[in-house]
């Protein structure tokens, strides 16, 4: 996949959303959040990918492009989770839709609705950008995240991911 060159309707920053139970808020990621984001990702994946996340922030952070979003969930100054994605046009021949490329919530902060609120917030942004469908792609054995997306009402998309070794 490659970034779309087409522009979408201008988006205003997302309204700050407060969670009902723990008082978390959802907002755009900032450069100051990167250390925590890198730590969350490293805790979950076992790999500390500093350069990767700085590059992601350069591309997705601070509304680098209107159709891109990089959001964090914050509780009392602590980043508990994040989500990123963007609207892409005619990817795989399909009309424009929102793609979620990553979502993570600290293991000790799960089951509190943070993932749901992050997904809701990015979907609201996609909707403001003029699309009405959200998609994602994940490993078949990533049951934890697949179950999460299923619980959010997501069903199989009309695609099959294919691969082969390149000799």
């Amino acid at each position: 996949m490659y970034p779309s060159k087409h522009s979408h309707a201008p988006q205003s920053p997302p309204p700050e959303i407060s969670g009902p139970t723990r008082g978390f808020s959802i907002r755009d990621a900032s450069a100051a959040d990167l250390d925590q984001i890198i730590a969350i990702d490293a805790e979950i994946t076992g790999l500390k990918k500093v350069d990767y996340w700085y590059e992601v922030f350069h591309r997705y952070g601070a509304r680098a492009r209107q159709q891109r979003q990089f959001l964090v969930a914050e509780v009392d100054g602590r980043v508990e989770g994040f989500i990123l994605g963007e609207i892409r046009d005619w990817e795989f021949g399909e009309p424009p839709c929102g793609w979620v490329f990553g979502i993570s919530v600290r293991p000790d902060a799960r089951l509190g609705g943070i993932g749901t609120r992050l997904l809701d917030a990015i979907c609201a942004g996609f909707k403001r950008g003029g699309v009405t469908k959200v998609r994602t792609l994940l490993a078949r054995d990533n049951n934890l995240v697949m179950s999460f997306f299923r619980a959010q009402g997501m069903m199989a998309a009309p695609f099959i991911a294919l691969e082969r070794d390149i000799a």
């Binding site: 078949r140 054995d141 049951n143 697949m146 179950s147 299923r150 619980a151 009402g153 199989a156």
Partner: protein
Amino acid sequence: MKLQRSTSIALCSILEAAASPERLVSAPEIAEKYGVSPHHLAKVLQQLGRARLVVASRGVGGGYRFVGNPKRVTLLDVIEIFEDISARPAESGDKENATDVGRALALVLSEVDETARATFRSITISTMLKLIARERPGD
């Protein structure tokens, strides 16, 4: 993909019971709704009881209650009580599987099996109840 009849009955029974946790669901009610023989249903419910997914209450007003955790129990958990849908390894005595054609076919079938397992494993009873509500006419 087609599930065995017992598996299908088990899933329907679990979902009926989980949808109404405040009451007991009677076996005749399930049998009538899904067009299944009471004898077959009794055997299925017995297996679900042994798997500690339902408990039975006997007597007038008796029935079944789902006692699993709807956010944890998946479709695969229920299915695997009744049938094995895992990717099938080639049987050593099967001549077809010793051929290039047989091995290539097995590879494709295994791909289908693994996708089916991943799908069933990712859908909990709770997610299914939401899906059922969404599919309900008028909702």
